[in-house]
């Protein structure tokens, strides 16, 4: 399918048609707003906004959906930074340093940096798409169950490295997440595990309910502890634009995280949560100021934001080159374009090149538009911080309930929401790291299923985990990610035996 300059230019012309531009901007704006609400991530945002695309020309509809998708990715990190309540798995990493920055009165800078990083990640990924779509699609196919298992294992080891200095609590948090991931029907055998006879639990505990519960509800309950303390000084928004020094520090993390996120996004089933988390831990390990991570380091906002937006572009590759949705969001999009009479499949590039290239160009233009929208809106977003907390907290609670309801339309999720709210409260009070629980819950199910699929495929032999170069590389990375911080920590400890740092997220 290669790069055919003519098709690329034709696509650019289509994307620049006023109607398409208008829908692009409108979709991006809507996506941002919806993505800010707790629980309404990209998949839900696209699903609920699909009726708008009815009756549109298929190309325009697809452009609109991609705009909503990216918009929701931008929006998800807005609430992470401002309120410590991520809207979706891929926005969790933005809370690590974004929220501390907001607390320090640098909300404006964090928001601006997240928008810039998203733009850079997105642009890197679009370029990657144009040049590498076909070989990458082949690369993604090489991932069998063993490779997936090892990728999940690598992610878990990165999570462990996150709780460095607080290992016991990190491991407890991770194990609880893994145990929760086993709730529901076991795909390989059809056995129901730990569902207590509730059909609502048969498809497992929705990790979004856990995210909203622990972060949004837990955060509000946690803030109750200090609600009557006089507000010291008014939370300041600070500068609305980043400084030169911040740019210098974030430049390389963003440029490194873009390709990383893009590659992970291409793999069906991996996606934004894993991409942003891996880029965050990578940058933390590479950084000279890794002790600042988690306390409001701007690189800690830039890296995951670049990665998750790049991943959302990468996720379009399996959809457009093979007709296979690689993520929940692209699955929803697939359903929608089928209704419009488009048949995405391996032949889409040949049969309808103009549609594909208009879409690619729209992703490019869309990212630029979104950055403008988001930077213009920084002033408006930070107004949220001016709302008196005593009014804001009830509003967050109500939004958390509504957002939860939109996930499964079920009351059972309300009870889960409150249970995880209380768990979140205790975790925050006792300084248990939260990310290991959530990520273990997200990857745990896939990890177990892929491990068992590998064993069935190899008739029980473990050699399948060493059978391909990808496997070996992933094993190497896993070992490295576990050992590297240990070594660094060892050296540091020798240098200054004085104090033992605990850092919370």
């Amino acid at each position: 399918m290669g790069v055919d300059i003519q098709s690329l230019v034709d696509g650019l012309m289509t994307a620049l048609q006023p109607t398409n531009l208008l829908w692009l901007a409108f979709g991006g704006f809507l996506g941002t707003v919806v993505g800010m609400l707790p629980g309404l991530g990209p998949a839900t945002a696209v699903a609920v906004l699909i009726p708008i695309t009815f009756g549109m020309d298929p190309t325009t509809a697809l452009i609109m959906m991609v705009a909503i998708y990216s918009g929701a990715m931008y929006g998800g990190s807005r609430s992470s930074i401002l309120l410590n309540t991520p809207g979706d798995g891929s926005a969790i990493a933005a809370t690590f340093d974004g929220y501390p920055m907001a607390k320090k009165g640098q909300a404006g800078q964090a928001l601006a940096m997240s928008a810039i990083a998203s733009l850079i990640g997105g642009l890197i990924a679009v370029v990657g798409f144009v040049l590498l779509a076909a070989p990458l699609a082949d690369f993604a196919l090489k991932f069998g169950p063993a490779e997936y298992f090892l990728l999940m294992l690598f992610t878990l080891s990165a999570i462990v490295s996150l709780s460095m200095g607080n290992m016991t609590k990190g491991f407890i948090s991770m194990s609880v997440g893994l145990l929760l991931s086993t709730v529901g029907i076991d795909l390989q055998s059809g056995v129901y595990r730990f569902t207590f006879g509730l059909p609502q639990l048969s498809e497992g505990i929705d990790f979004l309910v856990v995210i909203i519960g622990i972060y949004a509800v837990g955060e509000v309950l946690y803030n109750y502890l200090s609600i009557d303390k006089p507000l010291g000084k008014k939370k300041r928004v600070g500068e609305k634009w980043i400084t030169k020094e911040q740019w210098k520090r974030s430049k390389w993390p963003m440029i490194r995280s873009g390709p990383l996120g893009f590659l992970i996004g291409v793999l069906p089933g991996a996606g934004g949560s894993i991409a942003s988390m891996l880029s965050y831990t990578t940058e933390r390990q590479l950084s000279k100021r890794s002790d600042q991570f988690g306390k409001g380091a701007i690189e800690g906002v830039a890296a995951p934001e670049s990665a998750n937006n790049a991943a959302s572009v990468g996720a379009m590759i399996p959809l457009l080159t093979m007709g296979i949705p690689g993520s929940g969001t692209t699955a929803v999009m697939l359903g929608a374009v089928i209704m419009l009479g488009v048949k995405p499949g391996p032949l889409l590039f040949e049969n309808d090149p103009n549609m594909v290239w208009s879409l690619v160009n729209s992703m490019f233009i869309g990212n630029i538009l979104l950055v403008m929208i988001n930077i213009l809106l920084v002033g408006l977003f930070v107004k949220i911080l001016d709302t008196p907390p005593k009014v804001l907290y009830p509003l967050i609670l109500v939004l958390a309930f509504i957002g939860t309801f939109t996930l499964n339309y079920s009351i059972v999720d309300f009870y889960l929401l409150m249970i995880f709210g209380v768990i979140g409260l205790f975790m925050k009070m006792l300084k248990f790291p939260i990310a290991p629980l959530i990520l273990a819950l997200i990857v745990g199910g896939d990890m177990e299923q892929n491990f068992r699929k590998s064993l069935v495929a190899s008739d029980g032999g473990l050699d399948i985990f060493f059978a391909s170069p990808i496997c070996i590389a992933l094993i190497g990375l896993t070992i490295l990610s576990v050992c590297y911080p240990l070594i660094v920590n060892g050296i540091k400890r020798k240098k200054m035996r004085t104090q033992h740092k605990e850092w919370d997220m």
């Binding site: 407890i172 409260l425 069935v456």
Partner: protein, 149 residues
């Protein structure tokens, strides 16, 4: 008195044992290895048990130190706020389908605002509860086409 520090580790030990027992009572798979669904949760529960015991030992060593974090739970009106919020949430869940989205949300949000923001600012509370519920109802059910009761 035994320090409250030990509560958490003991809680996790119970969780892991509970999961372990539940794991061994899982139904067997009808095809392939009958124990296949059991291995993973069993391994994880045993791991959790081990880590929890380590946690217990650590906290035991530190038991003389004051348990700061949990003390804050009892301070001021915090316990009232937390418990009332959860009770209100429970009521909201119970009446949600019967009263419909709009009425139940106005009541829930209103009650939360009176609870957190205080009675003295009743006007703000009522206005916010009404406007916000109406706006979110309109946004979700009309603009986003989500079916609300």
């Amino acid at each position: 008195m035994i320090s409250t520090r030990l509560l958490m580790p003991v809680f996790f030990i119970f969780v892991s044992i509970g999961f372990l027992i539940a794991t061994f009572n899982l139904p067997k798979a009808k095809m392939g290895d009958p124990n296949a669904p059991i291995y993973f949760p069993a391994v994880i529960s045993i791991f959790l048990l081990i880590v929890s015991v380590i946690y217990l030992i650590r906290e035991w060593r530190a038991k003389r130190k004051e348990d700061e974090p949990l003390k804050r739970l009892k301070a001021g009106r915090t316990p009232v706020l937390i418990v009332s919020t959860l009770v209100l949430g429970l009521i909201y869940a119970l009446v949600f389908f019967h009263l419909g989205f709009l009425v139940s949300t106005i009541l829930f949000l209103g009650a939360l605002l009176f609870l957190v923001n205080g009675k003295s600012r009743w006007l703000v509370n009522i206005v916010v509860a009404l406007l916000f519920s109406l706006a979110s109802w309109y946004a979700f059910s009309h603009l986003l086409n989500i079916s609300l009761p």
